[in-house]
C-alpha cells in the first residue's frame, strides 16, 4: 500500500502566520518595558543560538530543546510577571528561565553538565530551575507541571500573597489527561494560575491539527473549564505582554484562572539536531518572515526608538552571552560526592540505617 501523500507532512498546505497587528504600535506600553523586552528577546535568541552551537560542538550532551523563533511568549509574560510569581515550564524551558532572570551562565553550564550549572549538572537541559527567581522548574514529561502550577497557585491563595503561577506548555500537551484535570481544578478552586499554550503548530514531528479534535488546541477547549478563549500572536511581544498583563491581574484579584493560546513557530527543529524537514518549506519561510526579532525591531523603530539604541542592546547582550559561555566552559565536571546528595531533605540519599 503506497503511503498517502498526506503522511508526508512536508507536502501539506502550509499554515501561515497572522499579519502583524500595526495597531499595537499605539499600545499603552512604557518605553522602558519595551526596551526591556527587546533586550530579553535578544538574550533568549542569542542564548538559544549559542546553545545550538555548543550542541553541534558536542559540548551539550543528551538533548536540548530550543525556543528559537518562539521567544516572544516568554518575553511578554516575563515582562508582565512580578518577581514573586511562579513559572513552570517544560523541557523547552530555557527561554522561560532566562525571562525570569535566571543567570545565563548558570543555565548554559547546566546544559554542559558542569558543576557550576544551576542544578549542579544533575538536572540537565530539560530541567532548568531557579527557585530564587521564581522559576519553579522545567518538567520533561508532558502534562504534570500544569497540575503542580495549580498547587503553587493554591498555596499563594491560602497564604494570601497575590502571587500568580504561570504554566507554559506546548500545543501537543493539550491532548494529555493532566491538562484536563489541571484546568478543571483551577477553575473550581478559582486559583490564581495562568495556563499558556505555546502553539507552535507541531507536536514534535506531527502537525497538531492531525491529532487534535478542534482547530485551537487550547482556546478551543477553554469553554470546558468555564474560561474565555484567548488567542494571541505569540510572535508579537506587545500582544503577549498585553494579554499577560490582563490575565495576571485577573488572577491576582481572585477572579480565577485563564488559558492563553499563543500562536508561534519554532524556527529550528524540535530538539537536538532535528532539521525539521517534516514541515512545508513555504510554511517555514512564511514564519521566518514573522520572526519576533525583526518584527519587534521594526515596531520599536516605528515608535521612535533609534536604531543605535537597539544596536547597543544587541552588542551588550552578545557580551553577556559570551561571558556566560566562558563561565559555562570553565566549569568543572561534577564529582563523585554530588552523585549521592539531595535525594532527601537531609542532603543525602540514605534509605536505610
Amino acid at each position: 500500500m503506497p503511503t498517502d501523500y498526506r503522511y508526508d507532512y512536508s507536502r501539506r498546505d502550509p499554515r501561515l502566520p497572522p499579519p502583524v497587528d500595526r495597531a499595537l504600535e499605539h499600545a499603552p506600553i512604557p518605553e522602558d518595558v519595551r526596551l526591556g523586552m527587546y533586550r530579553k528577546l535578544q538574550e533568549l535568541r542569542q542564548f538559544g543560538k549559542r546553545a545550538h552551537d555548543l550542541f553541534l560542538q558536542n559540548l551539550v550532551k543528551g538533548t536540548t530543546h530550543l525556543s528559537l523563533g518562539m521567544e516572544a511568549v516568554a518575553t511578554g509574560f516575563g515582562a508582565a510577571m512580578r518577581p514573586g510569581d511562579y513559572s513552570f515550564a517544560t523541557y523547552r524551558g530555557h527561554a522561560h528561565s532566562l525571562a525570569r532572570g535566571v543567570d545565563p551562565g548558570a543555565a548554559l553550564a547546566e546544559l554542559l553538565g558542569r558543576e557550576n550549572g544551576v542544578l549542579g549538572g544533575k538536572g540537565g537541559s530539560m530541567h532548568l530551575t531557579d527557585v530564587a527567581k521564581g522559576m519553579m522548574g522545567s518538567y520533561a514529561i508532558i502534562g504534570a507541571h500544569l497540575c503542580i502550577a495549580n498547587g503553587a497557585a493554591w498555596s499563594a491563595q491560602m497564604r494570601g500573597t497575590e502571587q500568580v503561577a504561570v504554566a507554559f506548555f506546548g500545543d501537543g500537551t493539550t491532548n494529555i489527561g493532566a491538562f484536563h484535570e489541571a484546568l478543571n481544578m483551577a477553575q473550581v478552586w478559582k486559583l490564581p494560575v495562568v495556563f499558556v499554550c505555546e502553539n507552535n503548530l507541531y507536536m514534535e514531528y506531527t502537525p497538531i491539527d492531525l491529532v487534535t479534535a478542534v482547530e485551537h488546541p487550547a482556546a478551543g477547549r477553554a469553554a470546558s473549564y468555564g474560561m474565555e478563549p484567548i488567542v494571541v500572536d505569540g510572535n508579537d511581544p506587545d500582544a503577549v505582554y498585553l494579554v499577560a498583563t490582563r490575565v495576571l491581574e485577573r488572577a491576582r484579584r481572585g477572579a480565577g484562572p485563564s488559558l492563553v493560546e499563543a500562536i508561534t513557530y519554532r524556527s529550528g527543529g524540535h530538539s537536538r539536531a532535528d532539521p525539521g524537514k517534516y514541515r512545508p518549506a513555504a510554511e517555514v519561510e512564511a514564519w521566518a518572515g514573522h520572526d519576533p526579532i525583526p518584527l519587534y525591531h521594526s515596531r520599536l523603530l516605528a515608535v521612535g526608538v533609534p536604531e543605535a539604541t537597539l544596536g547597543t542592546i544587541q552588542r551588550e547582550v552578545a557580551e553577556v552571552v559570551d561571558a556566560a559561555t566562558e563561565f559555562a566552559r570553565a566549569g568543572r565536571e561534577p564529582g563523585e560526592p554530588s552523585l549521592l546528595t539531595e535525594v532527601f531533605a537531609d542532603g543525602g540519599s540514605r534509605w536505610r540505617n
Partner: protein, 330 residues
C-alpha cells in the same frame, strides 16, 4: 490512654498535627463532608474547616500536583488517594515528578507532604481495589514509605510522616481499619526508619508488614507451641528501612522468613532477602523463605481471596516445613 480503632487513629493523628501546625492542609476525594470512604477523616472538616480540608474532583493527577505545588512553596499537605491501586492513575506525578524533583534541582525544592492511601486486600473488592503496592513506592528513589500495623503506630508514624520534610507514602490497611489498640494521651510522635521486634525469639526471624504482622504473630504463637521460637519484626517503615534490626535478628536466629501481602515478584521481601544475603550470609543456617500472595491479580470471591493472601496457617505450615525440612538435615 484511649482505646481507638485503626480507622479512628488516622483522624486522631492528623488532627494532632493540624492543631500543631496551622498551615497544614489536606485534600482528596470525599474526605471532607463525607469523612472519607473508609471514615478515616471523620470530624476533620468540622474542626479545621473547608479551607484546610478540601474535597476534590476525581482527578488524582491534579490532587498530587496541587499537593506538590503547595508543598514546594511552603504549605505542608496531606493528600489522600482513596485506594492504593489508584496510585497508578497518578504514577507519573509520584514516581517521576515528586520523587525526582529534589534531586534534579540539586535540592532547590522540598516536598513536605504525605500521600495517604488505603492499601491491601481482605475486603473482597477484587483485583482493582485490593492490591498491596508498598513495593511500587519502595522501588522509586526519593520516596519514603510507611505502613503501620496498629492504631498507636498509625498516630505516631502519621505524625512523623507529616513532620518529615520529604514525601512519604503512607499505607493504611483496609483490613485493619476495625482493629483496636490503646493510644497514649498527649502528643504521640514516632520515628520513621525504625522497625519493631514485636515478639522475641531465638530460632528464626519473621519479617512482616501491616496486615501480615498480626498473622505472623499468631503463627509465631503456634510455632512456640510446636517448640520453635520465632522472632517477629514489624518493619513499619520500608524507606528508610531499619536494616540493622533485621540484620541483627537474622544474624542471631540464622533464619529469615518474610511475610508479604504483595504478589511475589519484586516484593519488599525480595529486597530484604537480598540485603540479608549480602550482609549476613555467613550467619544463615538455611534458605530465606518468602511467604507471599502468589503472583496473580487478587480474586474477589471470599474463598479465593483467603487462599491467595498469606494466612496464619500458611505462614505456620511453611515455616514448620522449612525448619524441619531436608535442608536442615543436611
Amino acid at each position: 490512654m484511649a482505646e481507638l480503632t485503626y480507622r479512628e487513629a488516622v483522624a486522631h493523628g492528623i488532627a494532632q498535627e493540624m492543631r500543631r501546625d496551622p498551615s497544614l492542609v489536606m485534600l482528596g476525594e470525599d474526605i471532607a463532608a463525607a469523612g472519607g470512604v473508609f471514615k478515616t477523616t471523620v470530624g476533620l472538616l468540622d474542626e479545621f474547616g473547608p479551607l484546610r480540608v478540601r474535597d476534590t474532583p476525581i482527578s488524582e493527577q491534579a490532587i498530587i500536583g496541587a499537593a506538590m505545588g503547595a508543598a514546594m512553596t511552603g504549605v505542608p499537605v496531606i493528600a489522600e488517594i482513596m485506594f492504593s491501586d489508584f496510585l497508578a492513575v497518578c504514577w507519573d506525578m509520584i514516581a517521576n515528578e515528586l520523587a525526582k524533583s529534589r534531586y534534579m534541582t540539586n535540592g532547590q525544592v522540598s516536598f513536605p507532604m504525605v500521600i495517604r492511601t488505603a492499601n491491601g486486600g481482605g475486603a473482597r473488592f477484587g483485583a482493582q481495589h485490593s492490591q498491596s503496592v508498598e513495593n511500587w513506592a519502595m522501588m522509586i528513589p526519593g520516596l519514603k514509605v510507611v505502613a503501620p500495623a496498629t492504631p498507636v503506630d498509625v498516630v505516631g508514624l502519621m505524625a512523623a510522616s507529616i513532620r518529615d520534610p520529604d514525601p512519604v507514602v503512607f499505607f493504611e490497611h483496609k483490613s485493619l481499619m476495625a482493629a483496636k489498640g490503646t493510644v497514649p494521651d498527649g502528643e504521640v510522635v514516632d520515628r520513621l526508619g525504625t522497625a519493631r521486634v514485636v515478639k522475641e525469639g531465638t530460632d528464626l526471624t519473621i519479617v512482616a508488614l501491616a496486615l501480615m504482622v498480626p498473622r505472623a504473630l499468631e503463627a509465631a504463637a503456634r510455632l512456640d507451641e510446636a517448640g520453635i521460637s520465632a522472632e517477629v519484626i514489624d518493619v513499619r517503615s520500608l524507606v528508610p528501612l531499619d536494616a540493622q534490626t533485621i540484620l541483627e535478628s537474622v544474624s542471631r536466629t540464622g533464619r529469615l522468613f518474610t511475610v508479604e501481602e504483595n504478589p511475589r515478584m519484586c516484593g519488599w521481601g525480595a529486597e530484604v532477602v537480598s540485603i540479608v544475603d549480602e550482609e549476613v550470609f555467613w550467619d544463615l543456617d538455611g534458605p530465606s523463605i518468602r511467604i507471599t500472595t502468589p503472583h496473580i491479580p487478587l480474586p474477589a470471591a471470599a474463598a479465593l481471596e483467603d487462599m491467595a493472601i498469606p494466612g496464619v496457617n500458611r505462614i505456620y505450615e511453611t515455616i514448620l516445613k522449612s525448619v524441619d525440612g531436608p535442608g536442615e538435615a543436611r
